[in-house]
Amino acid sequence: MRTFMIRWALLVTVTAFLGFSALSSAQMTRYEQDQRLGTEAHVGNLTGHAHAAKENYRRYCVGCHGEEGDGEGENAVWLDPKPRNFTLGQFKCRSTPTGTLPTDEDLYNTLGRGLVNSNMPSWNPLSNQARIDLVAYVKHFSPKFQGDKPGPPVQIPPEPEVTAERIKAGQAVFQKLECWKCHGVEGRGNGPSADTLTDDQNRPIKPFNFHDGTRFKCGTSDQDLYKIFMTGLDGTPMPSFADNVKPDEAWQLVFYLRTLQPMQSKEKQIARQLGLKPINPNSTPTPSPQPAASDTPATAPATAPETSPAASPASPPPADSASPNPPQRK
């Protein structure tokens, strides 16, 4: 009987110790997170406070992104692509160089825009204040935001005129950079490497199909597409080409990719006039020409250059959540 009592007491003690340790550890994590509820976010005149977004996060976000922001919400298992793990501080849609933190405005715009081809909808029905508060809340999950600063936004030069030469040159860039290996020779997301791609969590991921929609993962405008080349989509196999591509080449690529999209555009109109055929991956790409300003203009009228939102990070937020993005192409 005595031996039994001793064993029993030992068992209770060990269990209590392990339980307490686990609880303490959990409490520490919770304590740290509570400390981070003071995190702020700033876009223009708006200031977001993490603590103010607690209820909205629970209402709108927790089902996918999880209580701890780790992307392990109750529905995560059913979703493809998987929800973002905020604790890593790694985001696809940025105006900042690859490997750096996004600006608050990047996160704010992503919330308002949503992410096409995913379960992340546009949250622009929420008030501007609610969204900036949520940005602060998203930031509070990652220790990176406590110490590191966002990278400097990439500069987007003015958009040149769309010309037939630039479109042809863009096709050459498409071949030279081997975009076709993932996105396919026609940009249908069916390149030879497409089936082998994984994200940084080692989960299968599909390349973007340019024929599938009018929007890109991180926006709708030419500037948004330019930005994707230069910043890459962190956490995915889409790298940054900031070190490999000159601004002119990036614009040429933008114009060429526009010809692959389903909606009518001046690029598509020019491509039709040129009789542009898909690339032949086995041929040697012709060097990308550097068109002069006096290039033969396209039959379609040129648009006025637009200033990228990323080029002016201190610009005030949109008056209404309808306009965080440049106008959509139809």
């Binding site: 089902g63 909808p121 029905p125 204040q129």
Partner: protein, 476 residues
Amino acid sequence: MRIWEQFRLQRKLPVATSSLTMVLVIFILVLSSPPANALPAFARKYGLRCSACHEAWPMLNYFGQKFKDNGYQLMNDRDAPIWQNPSYWPVTFRIIPLWHRESNNKVAVDTEAQSPGGPIPAERRISSSGFDLSGLDFHTGGTLEKNISFYVLPSSDATASFHFETVMGRLDNLFGSPWLNVKLGKFELDNLVSEKRILTLTAISGVYQTYHFRPQGDGNIFGQIGDNQLGVELMGHSANDRTRYSAALLSSSDGQVNLPYGSNAYSGFFTASQAFNVGKWGVDRVGAYAMIGVAPTSYLTLTTGGTATPIAGSGTGNRPYNREGFVGLFYFGKLDFQVVTQHGWDSAWFGAGYGDFIGGNAPNNNTPGSVLPPGFRAPSWNGYLVETHYVYSPQLIFIQRSEWERMSQQADPTVRSDLGNVDMYTLGYRYMPIMTSRAGFAWHNEYSWMRQRGISPVNSRDVSSSSLLLGFDFDF
């Protein structure tokens, strides 16, 4: 085994203590249930908790309103059914087992006193209570293809007698524009404060009195904007849903199928609204609506055995009516107010008891030679509705609603000016202990009280009614 036996010897707790412990455990389990997560058919499709679209299910929040306005699409290019697992079947049922108590203070009953015509009636209060069921709704809706949506809702009463509450197909974003969406079928009118998404459930407060009010003796049932209607609707909205409009052409049939009333009787329903940011308080919205139409008052009849039976579909003699109102949704953080004011006007013919002769809601048939009683005028009235919600959390909401209906002109100039005026108050809460993206469950508790002026059947005094309801409102 030895340890277990030792414990078992000492475990001679009294039954009362064990029961109390069990109740306590259940209570704690309920309170500590997972956090709130709507129409589960949509929630299952998108993986969003119901709280994402509903301020409190079934009432929509701004995100849910946008989702609905987009044709039940998130607009993320994954809305078409081709993106779903083939086993996904968008069906949700909803039913409410409940206990309720209904009380009416002036019901006509026979007394022992006799007159030559039979027993002399008197007025008594009748109260009854007991366990009961609501009707059953089978919701199915979603997309047939990108930008082609549907919604079908077979709905039953508590005896499982079914009808189609909603059946509609919708073409969304025509020409790529959110400003052009066309819906055809039987559908919920584009009310910002929608009765089909009402949070209150009692016999009194389960509808908006403002949307259904009819002057005493009025035979027009066709202007009830709380009812789903048959027709076609053009609707549009800005990209973020801040600006909305709709215009609907409706059969003047109050949503009843098989063309029971007349030919060429149509109504129009028009809405417009604008939402705006109010800083940290959230987003407010103001809007206006109008229903303008005509409805029949004359029907052909066939007399058999001395009883004249109206012939369905034969209605003519269209008379006009209209309803117009203003709506405001005002948010103050966790507190919000819904305000509706409505003005109603019916043709004097409706006021004189012509209108729905087919359904028996109008006693008179406007046969050739019929004339209005001397002095009869077009009745008009005003309604006011204020509903307040305090959203403690996505799982717990407190609800208050007050409604006042006031006659401004009686059809019959000889009756008291406040005849039929309504005051209605309701108070309740909904607690959703386990609401996931797979199912919804709410514990609902509510009390409602209503007074109608001068309508008691014997003495023409005020009638007051009350209703208390406790129930489990769940869907899956």
